[in-house]
Amino acid sequence: MMTDWNAMSDADFRKEVRGFFEAEYPEELRNLPHRPKFAEIAHWHRKLHAKGWVAPAWPAEYGGMGLNAAKLLIFYEEQQRWGVNRGRDMGVQMVGPLIIKFGTQEQKDYWLPRILSCEDIWCQGYSEPGAGSDLANLRTRAEIDGDDFVINGQKIWTTMAHDATHIFMLVRTDPDAPKKQQGISFLLAPMDQSGVEVRTITTLSGETEFCEVFFDNARTPRENLVGELNKGWTMAKALLSFERIFIGSPSLAQNALGQLESFARGRGAFDDPVFRDRFAQAALDVEDHAALYARFADQLKRGETLGADVSMLKIWVTECFQRITELMIEAAGPDGGTIGPLQVGNVGVDVLSSFYKARPGTIYGGSNEIQRNILSKAVLGLPG
């Protein structure tokens, strides 16, 4: 029978999770600096799958671990602590919960097992060239034609679309709806068809994790509509509620701080009191952020719903992460513009890569400007 993880004590559960990661997670995949293609982590995924741990948050009846909030946080904390790659988890994190909540029995039966096994690998089609911070402004159309939807338009910033078999997307199904948040639907579509073209986007650091996806009369069967027609916006928002604390998790900043410290120590940057002061600022920023994160996590663990104020975690930690990587550049001195690992002692620290990695945090997932707009109205009650 399934284990009832929630019945375990937090400490025992943490031990169990930690033990598994430490014993089974391949050393060479720890703290991967890039997003892997599936092939690169397939071996690890199979181990997880065999253990039944692919979907910690899903109900056990659908093949998940059925963890409550407290256990889920522990699971993720241990995952981050050990540098376990989250894998190609769009299916597990986004599509699965959507189908579980809004899908038909047929959709559940068909898609969920394929998500767990990674037979289908998903990417997320939300953003469009004209719909960034203003996500509801999307223009990609889907029109019913016989048994299919016919899709035309363009998605952008689609992470790893070039290594995905399916896309879940927000599309406009009623262009005449009075408000732009209306008339949007949630569709699943196969990538492997002539009407879908994927182009990778090169970032300023030379990475190609992001893609543009072009739809030119691409088709998907009508049964791939999830939930009601024209009600996709509300569904998409509902999905985000639990995600909001994770986007503000201290882990990225904490890891970067650790990297900064060992690099600075190796390079002798701590000999400079000015650098020490700025390091101390950054370190205390991370410590005190973690204290605030713990406060919100406690709320979750007590079963409370998080309010809009949880966004402050994301604002603080993404900016903090950036400052830490800027300090790495400083500590590198004349090597601050050099691509690739810089040697300190026996290890190489790639300061530029960290610097680049910290950039998108303030832009994606609702830019920090948008987050401040939300806090201003929803939390502080400021007018207009």
């Binding site: 946080l73 904390e77 009191p273 020490r276 002061d277 390091f279 101390a280 600022q281 370190a283 205390l284 920023d285 410590e287 005190d288 952020h289 973690a290 204290a291 605030l292 713990a294 406060r295 996590a297 406690d298 104020d309 402050m312 604002i315 603080w316 400007e369 401040r372 707009n373 806090l375 201003s376 109205k377 939390v379 502080l380 009650g381 400021l382 007018p383 207009g384």
Partner: protein, 373 residues
């Protein structure tokens, strides 16, 4: 991860403590009372001292067998936050952190303990000295044959205290002694602070004093009491910052320019959000630090945690009170609005026991020392 997670019962105790302290201060007139005391020349209100004592405030960290509440520094922080919210001039942090912090460690059975807990007396603590360039210096104040010689600086509440706990150099190492206000050969030079309080420079020439403790334990107790006090001052700043932010938020919702509330301008909104985030981070960080101090015996680790708290609290309070003045516009620069009182109190509390840059330095050094140990 959540090292400060307290048992639910303790959290409930703290909640009740917070509520009772808040009610007490609000009933007494909140920040309006503090303004009146400042306008009448500084100092504090004797009745308030008694009320606070009755509520157990001064004995919050004193063991129950010595007449205290037997709670920890986290509880002291709760009270300090409430003191900060109404910028109360009463020497709560000085008494809890320094006076009782020294006595309960060095001579818990001395009669002054009970008097301090009971609000029957207020003592000031003289432990720092001023060097020739005006900054802090090595201690040179001496105690011999029952008499003090030399000087002490930065004595908070020097004008109103009924006595002074003085850390001096005795014949066989450091001593803690008690001198009465008005004693022979004692002169107090009080300088008015931005918040209307008095900071004193004491000078002793053969001033009689009673020895309370001696030896290295005095230094150890002093260091630990200073850590407590630093952390409590941080908590006071957190309360002050939170209230300064609330006042400002209220103001920008009502003040109109260009026919709409200034709080409807995006630039003002984002600034308010940043101050709010700063408040919340400070509150969480400082509360966590105090909570960790309660579970920590190593004085060096406690000192590091106190520095973490004060560094954060000062950074936040400076930013919040200064931006609050700007957001208030011209009226923020007047004495008519309360926000200026918060700025002034923040100036005093930030300077006292070291500002943020100072404590970041101590924090880093302590962290390095722990790493090396």
């Amino acid at each position: 991860m959540t090292q400060t997670e307290l048992p639910t019962s303790d959290q409930e105790d703290l909640r009740l403590l917070r509520e009772s302290a808040r009610t007490l201060f609000e009933r007494a007139g909140g920040s309006g009372r503090s303004r009146k005391l400042r306008d009448s020349g500084g100092g504090w209100d004797a009745d308030m001292i008694h009320e606070l004592a009755e509520a157990g405030v001064f004995g919050v960290t004193v063991p129950e067998e010595n007449g205290g509440l037997g709670m920890g520094l986290a509880a002291g922080g709760v009270i300090a936050e409430e003191v900060g919210r109404v910028i109360a001039p009463e020497p709560v942090v000085v008494t809890v952190g320094l006076s009782l912090g020294l006595l309960r460690r060095l001579c818990p059975d001395h009669a002054k303990m009970e008097q301090l807990v009971g609000g029957e007396t207020v003592l000031a603590v003289a432990w720092q000295e001023r060097g020739p360039n005006g900054g802090p210096a090595e201690a040179s104040c001496r105690y011999a044959d029952g008499k003090l010689t030399g000087g002490k600086a930065w004595v908070v509440g020097a004008s109103s205290a009924q006595g002074f706990l003085v850390v001096a150099q005795g014949d066989a190492g450091p001593v803690l002694v008690l001198a009465q206000a008005g004693a022979d050969g004692l002169s107090v030079d009080a300088r008015r602070q931005a918040d209307g309080s008095a900071m004193g420079e004491l000078s002793f020439s053969g001033t009689p004093a009673e020895q309370l403790a001696s030896g290295d334990t005095v230094q150890d107790a002093l260091a630990d009491a200073v850590s407590d006090t630093t952390a409590l001052a941080a908590a006071e700043l957190v309360g002050l910052s939170a209230r300064a932010f609330e006042i400002t938020l209220e103001y920008i919702k009502t003040r109109e320019q260009f026919d709409k509330p200034i709080g409807s301008f995006q630039v003002i909104q984002h600034r308010a959000v940043d101050l709010n985030v700063m408040c919340e981070v400070a509150q969480s960080g400082v509360r966590e630090a105090l909570g960790l101090m309660d579970g920590e015996a190593d004085p060096k680790v406690r000192a590091r945690l106190a520095s973490r708290a004060k560094a954060r609290a000062v950074t936040a309070a400076k930013k919040i009170t200064r931006d609050a003045i700007q957001l208030h516009g011209a009226v923020g620069y007047t004495d008519e609005f309360d926000i200026g009182l918060y700025l002034n109190r923040a100036l005093v509390l930030s300077a006292w026991l070291g500002d943020d840059a100072y404590h970041r330095r101590l924090w880093f050094m302590a962290r390095e020392a722990e790493g090396a140990a």
